[in-house]
Amino acid sequence: MTASQPPILVLGIETSCDETAAAVIHWRGDAGVDILSDVIWGQAEVHAPFKGVVPEIAARAHAEAVDHVIKAAMRAANASYKDLDLVAATAGPGLIGGVMVGLSAAKAVALAHDKPLVAVNHLEGHALSPRLSGAVAFPYLLLLVSGGHCQFLAVDGVGRYRRLGATKDDAAGEAFDKTARIMGLGFPGGPLIEALASSGDPRRFPLPRPLLAAPGCDFSFAGLKSAVARLWQGLAAPNEQDRSDLAAAFQAAVGDILVDRTANAIGLFGDADGRMVVAGGVAANQALRARLQSLAAKKGFNFTAPPLRYCTDNAVMIALAGAERFAQGWIDDLSAPARPRWPLDEAAAAARPSHRPGRKGAKA
């Protein structure tokens, strides 16, 4: 798309995970994106006392909130429905009830105001989200590391994604949350572990680094979690220093794994002097981010970590993905189904094993 592209006004809706969210953006092609509003109903910090229980799980909660967030997003953007160019909504993957709530709301808006609908894959929203905060040109290597995701994607263009590797069990952010749970800390675990680790000795407790030096760029964190649980159990009356040392050992292990896997992913991506983007809650960890940044520099890769705001689940990235698809001529029928399972790289996912890289030469 060129800079002369007339701006596209998009309403985006996201209900596939814990948050009910709506956003309005002005998409101007290569000239950038204006975020006119960005409304999220669920906020993790509100639920910290529940230690990990975030309540927007149920379809009913999404259903109660979705009309409110859509209205709030339209109002905050000072936009009227008749001016919209399209409505975009997450159509999967995710729990079917939640997805259907958002997709149905989008269909209702599209039908009532005679606007086109774009059904967006939630992962495509994440894959394109780096382009919200500035011009990140295609192709780029994306490391998506959050509580629910842990994978490498080669983002070759809109609609062209290759999954190079992914976790075999837990996501990296999940490992942080579960480690915090084992040590009796709160939720989310990432910032709490990071704070403790800064005053800990990472060498006191030996921890495994699953898949380190294995070929490919898959992850595994379940064994690391079990090792943390054993060490923690073995401490008679853990004090603050024990906590800090274990947190530091855990964070160092995760760092070693991320660096090792990313080095392999850069090799598989196959683009010398390429671009690398790290997105997701784990990228907010300064120690881990610094290690990935220095690896990228060593490999001659340009490194970007978009603001956390755009890396967590949100409707802005869904609106963006909708706009980018719309600009390429993709529009969905009002009968577009909600899809609980929807691999971003359909072709690669159909092959077994699904996460192995297999099409290195397919880039444009």
Partner: protein, 159 residues
Amino acid sequence: MQKAAVESEERPLEDEAATLALGARLAGLLRPGEFLGLKGPLGAGKTTLARGLIRAWTGDDALEPPSPSYTLAQIYEGPAGVLWHMDLYRLRTPEEALEIGLEEALATALCIVEWPERLGPLSPPSRMELALRDDQGRRTARLSWFGDAAARRKEFGFL
């Protein structure tokens, strides 16, 4: 609190392979419509046991079942029917389990459920529970049968 009708001995799981093998063995005995809760603290072997069970259920030894902790449920198909792998830790109330489709799952699928205690009064009266423990690397498993499921006890004679 409903009491187990019958319990197995606490069996040692010598290594990861033994945990995977127990999962596979359970997959061969369990059927759609049945409910197996996996209990035990983080790191006790629930992930490994579920992996062995799901691989055997689907007949796919290379399958790496992702954690259901954030998605709440992962759904698999095998020759014997559909399997739901759920993690209920993040539920706030038992009723939320109904909204993510537990009743439908119970009617049609084999339900493998981590943190089943989250169901409270909505726990199916006829069910099985596998309690996993890890004591400094020594892992064990004990299977309990609740309600009508107790009639199945003798088919699990190896435990």
